[in-house]
Symmetry: D2
Subunit: 344 residues, 4 copies
């Protein structure tokens, strides 16, 4: 790539060296196919320890959209729907993948990317009969699309609300490690497990080559889940490859180490930008930050750095997204701030 | 695994060391996401050279069922169907993945796993009006589920028939390398490209960790194909990972070297078994062979080797499937034959 | 139509005059929409009396393919499939409607259009793991596509088999009245209800303008069924129109009177043809018969009568389908036989 | 029903007596099945005359949701979507029928139930790549869910915008007769045809028992449309029944006479309510009006009349929907106004 550094995303590199080493070390062992290998089993046990729950089912898949497709479509009857934020990944950035499995998404406008129980209640209340869909899943992302996090109390409240109203709570955890690593969220993966029916732990954005771990706590979702995986093209012949990587991610809590580092880099970047008196779209304590710059500053930044322009604020100003990762060099943060100071 | 050796399949190990080396070497380079990276582009160019056609689109996905889902569903209108052998992977072993995208498979009974133009014609002729589906794709596997191969003449004839009858010809190439490496098929990947509308080159069974390369020649199928990939959860964030592996597979024709070796091992195994006067379900010149044994022999083989029992021939005899790969040790072949001789 | 008489089907005319009278008499009454009207309720009560079961749910829809679509898709999870005869309507003549809802049909070859427990067992036994679909519904037609009927004993056996094997038994009853009116079947609608989980009573082919009555006995299928109806476009705004017609069909057992008359006409036609030494594709005791004629006889018949050529027997002979109905004039039967005698 | 009169909807009665007469008169004629009968052909010709376009395809179906399902799903590729108002029938009141065919609806907030080109443009502009769906159809209702109408100029502008931007314009015409009968719209069915790609003419709400006429002008949508009808369970065996009714509706422009009468009744009702100083949710010139009443007035109205409470305005006031039809007695309008005056 042509950039001095890319802040486009947290999946610009391959994988953490420790993970690559595991792949190297286990490479020529003969193992069973389709995720029934000993390496995947080891990874599953490590995750169960970390989430402090032995009574969950864990399945590895190759990507986050795939995880969402398989879990959500496995739960719903044809007339049931999903409640999600307008900004949610499944609504905007999955090319209609959920609707392609036959289900409507009931949208909630949300300024901070999060849902609360009152908003969900309003959706339930407006769905009164068989001429309408029947909402059945509440879909949230932790962290959200705009870098914010649910606190443990918020999550707990939402989960209990779902249980009282016969809804499932599912969490898109593409960046769950970053959320857990944020002090603001005040939650561990064990809490995430306790206060949801199912979620996935994103590996791709947390230092593996590719792969996500679907964690299912609710027994109704567990049933025959491998049929769903197979039917959606998500059951990898060499499941071991993802399993091996997750064993690396959960050995010595590498997932958390990676996320904390990424958050720290984002925080330094964020503080540097704030010190130069720029504002932000959202209060992020995770590895995605959304500063607002005059368009001419955006243009100058583009000359040296890779990033997405998130949207326009007005005729003269735009929000950009800057993403850090487990491997972002601290010197690139410092350089960015210096450059920004100079072009101001 | 508990076996002396597993002949279960050709995806029991990780990947060829040369491929692992590329992953190691490119690991920390920053690259664009979603298959738009320089590593994938290099791999695509290598494949284009090998198939002698620069005017194709190539997309990398994580598995074979996924490749079939995306390509087949991208082509068809809601009322159109696919013609395939009863034994085909999409009919038997994909958990209804194709029907889950809304399409019927019109089945043809085939003793050797292959389709011919007369069989396809009969299907067309029996579909006469809007009360029935409209067959639009002919689906074949090369090599087939039972190890047989289409010769170049057979493929050519089928392709021309399809073109005359407004049908698409799609090839499931999970083991296309093995088919191309078989002298019986008498065809190169360039021939496969010339005589089909689209196909995929299987990587998973040919020495990569995971990944398949979809090759699209027909311009009608090319259009907006990335939308289909995204919607089906098949657009990998780190497309580079599969790209890197295919660059390894097509550098110095490693794909062919791997396949030739696997075929050679299967041939030695096959000859050894024939020499002991056993018969076979099919005439395979690829890396899957299907010997028929008395059930007590099958049981004794199971004590030392891993393999699938394919089906029953009669009360006393069964077909088993033995699969070799790029990494099957020749000594395991010899041991197997010796053991078989001893238990006879 | 240009024919002396059409034996094409049993839906060539409008409806029985008694039914038209009900539509005339109730026309200007204001009623609730979507099947919640008093006329539909009356019809439902009449049907419940006739089937001797008050604990069923009954829903009216506009056509048979629609009934099949809504019921079958309402029952199945995404990976579950339907077992049916190769000749079945859902396999051949519904333009892939079932697959369009996402489900595979597991086919059974059947010479008489019927399924038995051994055939179903073989399908179950060959579906062993999550790489394959999971068969969940046994679909049969009573009477079958080729005019044959299940006897009460056959149906009972199949139903008990289904219950033992965690399968649903669903009956396509497009011509259930004709089957019930056949002495061979030895069953009433009460028996049909007792020995199935759900079925539909065909009105269109039994003397109404349009409409079928779905009868659901199994509580699992009853749940939220109106959502399925609505979603598939099957919940008629003026449900009263079909309700009114079924009230006519079940007042004084008109459905049975209509069917008996149709069967009688078919029987006379059949005997007349047999007396002229022609053979038949199947032993039908219902209102569809399938005589085999030399092609030149078929051509001469076509000059005066409307009917479908079912298929070819060999180069010189074809099966044709002749269908009688509640309104077939007896004189047309006599004329047909006389004409056939003359052209022999 | 228990009401003095029902203003619930425009489908509370059977059908116009002239239409019933046609059904009576043609009842015992033998006709071809599946809409290929002479009665349907006559109806199609009458419609073609009325819309002044002989080059359209016309298909009869049993209901409006069904019409929307079949047309919309027939046009779209898997990744393509529909732009519609948040209040639209397909979004709110079809139980997720459109999503069940695999497609997302892109929503536009609209205070008057209508869409304009600027709103559509904003949707297009925000859909930039293959991570998102690709909007392809603009869906509007004429008249809208809240009784408003597009003027001919508005429709023309929207249609030309669609043509410039490679979009299809489809009109849900459940109440198109009422819209055409409104002077405000200033358009005929010929104009509707000229400025759309496809639409349906609602019969159910305009005086037939059941049935809608799909009119397709765009040749791309015409192709193999009967396959789509069959697959969605919409191809009626006795298509003649709907055909006969539409022949009645278009003989001597009964459709327009019915709609004008319904609009006149709504207008009288509306003026009576306005004269009592109540306000309205929308400016309707069609047969649905939406007055706003204090909740205690609503409760008293409920004692004598049937109608839907549309939604709440605030704690004390609600919108109700009053619908008139071709058969609403003028005396019921007068009674309603008198009653309202008394309870004020």
């Amino acid at each position: 790539m042509k950039y001095n550094h890319s802040f486009f995303n947290d999946y610009s590199e391959g994988c953490h060296p420790d993970i690559l080493e595991i792949l190297n070390n286990t490479n020529l062992e003969q193992e069973a196919g389709y995720g029934e290998d000993s390496i995947s089993k080891k990874a599953i046990n490590l995750i169960k320890e970390e989430i402090k729950n032995n009574d969950v089912d864990i399945h590895f898949v190759s990507g986050g959209t795939q995880a969402n497709i398989v879990v959500l479509s496995s739960i719903l009857k044809p007339y049931e729907s999903i409640i999600a934020a307008e900004t949610s990944h499944i609504n905007v950035h999955e090319a209609g993948a959920i609707e392609a499995t036959g289900h409507k998404i009931n949208l909630i406008e949300s300024h901070d990317g999060k849902l609360n129980t009152e908003q969900v209640w309003n959706v339930l209340e407006s769905h009164t009969d068989e001429h309408m869909v029947k909402p059945k899943i509440v879909f949230i992302s932790q962290s959200t699309e705009i870098g914010t996090v649910y606190t443990k109390d918020e999550l707990k409240k939402l989960y209990y609300f779902c249980k009282e109203n016969d809804l499932y709570l599912y969490i898109d955890g593409a960046r769950i490690a970053s959320a857990v690593a944020s002090e603001e969220s005040n939650m561990s993966l064990a809490d995430v497990t306790e206060f949801s029916d199912a979620f996935y732990i994103g590996g791709t954005k947390n230092g593996v080559m590719l792969g996500e771990a679907i964690v299912i706590k609710n027994p109704e979702i567990k049933e025959n889940f491998r049929f769903h995986l197979k039917q959606k093209g998500a059951l990898l012949a060499k499941g071991r490859i993802v399993g091996a990587q997750f064993s690396g991610l959960f050995e010595n809590s590498l997932y958390l180490k990676n996320a904390k580092y990424a958050n720290k880099m984002a925080s330094e970047l964020s503080h540097g930008i704030k010190d130069l008196d720029y504002e932000f779209l959202s209060d992020s304590t995770t590895n995605q930050i959304f500063p607002i710059f005059p368009n001419e500053i955006v243009d100058k930044l583009k000359e040296k750095y890779g990033f997405y322009v998130w949207n326009k604020i007005d005729k003269n100003n735009s929000v950009i997204r800057l993403v850090t990762s487990w491997v972002t060099p601290e010197e690139k943060i410092i350089e960015f701030i210096n450059y920004l100071r100079n072009i101001k």
